[in-house]
Amino acid sequence: MAWQIVRRLLIFVGSVLVASLAVFWLLSGIGDPARVQLGTGATEEGVRQLREQMGLNRPFFTRYLEWLGGTLHGDFGSSYISHAAIGPQLADRLSVTLWLVLGAMVLSVVVALPLGMLAALWHRRWAGTLISGITQLGVAVPAFLVGILLIALFAVRLGWLPSGSYVVPAQDPGGFLEHMILPWLSLGLVQAAVLTRYVRTAVLDQMGQDYLRTARAKGLTPWQALLRHGLRNAAIPVLTVLGVQLVTILVGAVVVEQVFVIPGIGQWLVDSVGNQDLLTVQAIVITLVAIALAVSFVVDVLYTLVDPRLRHG
């Protein structure tokens, strides 16, 4: 167990190094933070001076090592642009996005599991085809459109829910829920559509299996058999997809964050990339890498929980 943890840690450190080097290298080739900071009012002289001040003229590796040194001290540094410390902001933004993403994932799972199973169970009936069709449309509808439509209906027309903005759950749990319902819906429904497709496939893959017949011989309805037996066996691909979704949506939520004015990490990443704010991008990417590794660890553990055959001897 101890070795497991050490190994994971080593992997993590290695991944962070690789990712940070990649980000450093990619961004340094794309544009000039000094120029971005000075904007359209810039003079060549001004840009040169600022580059000097920001230390951008030093060699690539010097800058990289300096950053690394800071990070090793647990310090993400301060933004090139805002000069504010990155760490605390990262924590805030990340928590916002995590709420958004986790809520949406829960919603999508709750919607997708039954729908996917129904679509599989009825795969030759019109109802199954209908579910497949609707979910496919769901995949095709961009989340921002869903968002705008939801706002137009529930916020503007009916006035039931606020049209956006974020409320810290610790301060006002009710308000938090009220504000998150629409974002969760618009992100979650699209994800649900995607997930439904995987559930359908995974469940169909299980439908011909003998153990389902055994389950039915016990007196389970086809539905129960699928629910208790099929689903568990379909869980491996579904879990995988969930893991992948969880990581990719973190950034992918940017559009929903935009439409619902949620100060999350996706939006911040886009801004920071736009501002050439290298240190901020660096911090965000490293956080994402950490999350990805954590998620894949959790998914691996879940694999072995749902499918004992994967516990290698």
Partner: protein
Amino acid sequence: MSRPVGPARNGAAEADGPVLQVSGLRIGTRRTELVHGVDLRMGRRERVGIIGASGSGKTLTCMAIAGLLPPELVVTGSVRLAGVDRDLVGAPERLMTGVRGRRIGMVFQEPMTALNPTMTIRRQVAEVLLRHRTVPRSAARRVVLDLLASTGLPEPDRIARSYPHQLSGGQRQRVVLAIALANEPQLLICDEPTTALDVTVQATVLDLILERSAAVDAAVLFISHDLAVVATVCDRILVMQDGHVVEQGATVDVLAHPEHPYTRQLLADADLSVPAGEAS
């Protein structure tokens, strides 16, 4: 059909009506018929064996009785079970779920795939108990261990905690049997329940089937290729070939005085100490 179902020798079973009455059962795909009209009548406590060629429709017949045929197969005819006032053929799923696992227990042919690879044995056995609420949840744990032990499994506690892939074929087969017997069904259908078992375990399992079915007054529909096993278990035998029941009657009659050439052939081939060709 050579031998009509005469007045049964074990009249006791007939006294309170048949447990199972199958008539004119036909099974087929959309273009070929696979089973051509099977008639079968089983009394209480009666044990009926089906023997026959591989692919002759034995499994399909059993599946049809339990309503578990794959959806691409079509079934006609009638299957009636005592205590159920509906024909099981074409019965609604709701009815069938109440019947399966409760009134009809099933042991399948292939033990390797019959169990859910992702669930512990304990849960899989307990499920059938809890599904029909025959045992309170609190007692389920103990009942499961008892059931496993009664099938002759060593270390029932370890087995209960295992997953199917950790068990040998025979161990799995006994688990399936435990599931089938859990709710003391009226009718136990065993599709080659002992093929994966060694002879000692087989003897135990056969004893178990005999003993438990007797204990709960269950009728047994038993498929096996091992004539000795069939003879051990069954009072009556059906011989199937190519989707037809070619002969049926009391075990002793059929096995000792076979009439249909196919039955004779079977008996001839059953003796392994003599090569088939020379024996006949």
